[in-house]
């Protein structure tokens, strides 16, 4: 099992009711897409937000990442809405 830090920001943090959690990834979860599949199993808001109907962005170790990016052990994985700074 690989351990990761999962972070949520802005609207996603509020809707999901969590800003940070520590998560152990099963061996079958290698990529960002796999992780989204895992989180969608929580159903409710999780499936609604991360199931593909709404836009979100993912960063691995503070770099923007695509759905097919691999998640290294010990990674900091952040999930957040499209950014609106500037």
């Amino acid at each position: 099992m690989r351990e990761i830090d999962l972070l949520f920001f802005a609207r996603l943090r509020e809707v999901l009711g969590v800003g940070h959690e520590r998560l152990s990834l099963p061996e079958t979860v290698r990529t960002v897409a796999d992780l989204m599949g895992l989180l969608c199993q929580r159903e409710g808001k999780w499936a609604e937000e991360l199931g593909g109907k709404r836009l979100f962005r993912v960063a691995i170790n503070q770099e923007m990442a695509s759905l097919d990016a691999e998640i290294p052990a010990g990674a900091e994985v952040a999930i957040f809405p499209p950014v609106t700074g500037g």
Binding site: F9, A10, Q62, M64, P81, G85, G86
Partner: protein, 165 residues
């Protein structure tokens, strides 16, 4: 080549930033300063306050990366980016981008490039607080993504560079 970024809750001082910005570099012919400010009207809704959430650590990295990329693509003497976080009100400054170059075209283009990338890549999120007391997260604008695509198309066409996302 100085190339610095800051994320801060305090307001920035345009005059002080400009003074420190390559003041004695006589190779600079053009300086472009962009200041983004809080507007009171957003989609016909009166906004009385704005709060800016960010992803500490990643914001600084993202801004530095954007500034560095601009400095690779254009002949710049200096780049400075300051982005505020926390609670703001209408007319407050949010973001400052300074670019300096021997020629104006490069200073303008690099400045726009930085803002277009910042708007779509730097992890900041705006929450508007209306007169009615309700708070609402601001939606990302499609026009910000088309602004970005313009650069990516230009980069791919001119230099064959693939987007780093």
């Amino acid at each position: 080549m100085t190339n610095s970024v800051s994320v801060q809750s305090e307001s920035f001082d345009l005059a002080a930033e400009y003074r420190q910005f390559g003041a004695d570099d006589a190779g600079i012919g053009a300086v472009v300063a962009f200041v983004g400010r809080v507007r009171d009207l957003n989609l016909d809704r009166n906004v009385v306050a704005l709060s800016l959430e960010h992803y500490p650590g990643m914001t600084e990295k993202a801004l530095q990366r954007i500034a560095d990329e601009a400095a690779i693509r254009w002949p710049l003497n200096a780049v400075r980016v300051v982005h505020r976080v926390g609670d703001l009100k209408p007319t407050d400054d949010i973001v400052l981008v300074l670019t300096a170059s021997p020629h104006r075209k490069d200073a303008y283009e690099a400045n726009q490039f930085i803002m277009d990338y910042l708007k779509t890549r730097a992890p900041f999120w705006k929450k508007e607080h209306g007169v009615d007391g309700e708070a609402r997260w601001v939606d990302a604008r499609d026009s910000d993504y088309s602004a970005l695509e313009r650069w990516e198309h230009a980069l791919k066409t001119n230099w064959g560079i693939v987007d780093h996302d």
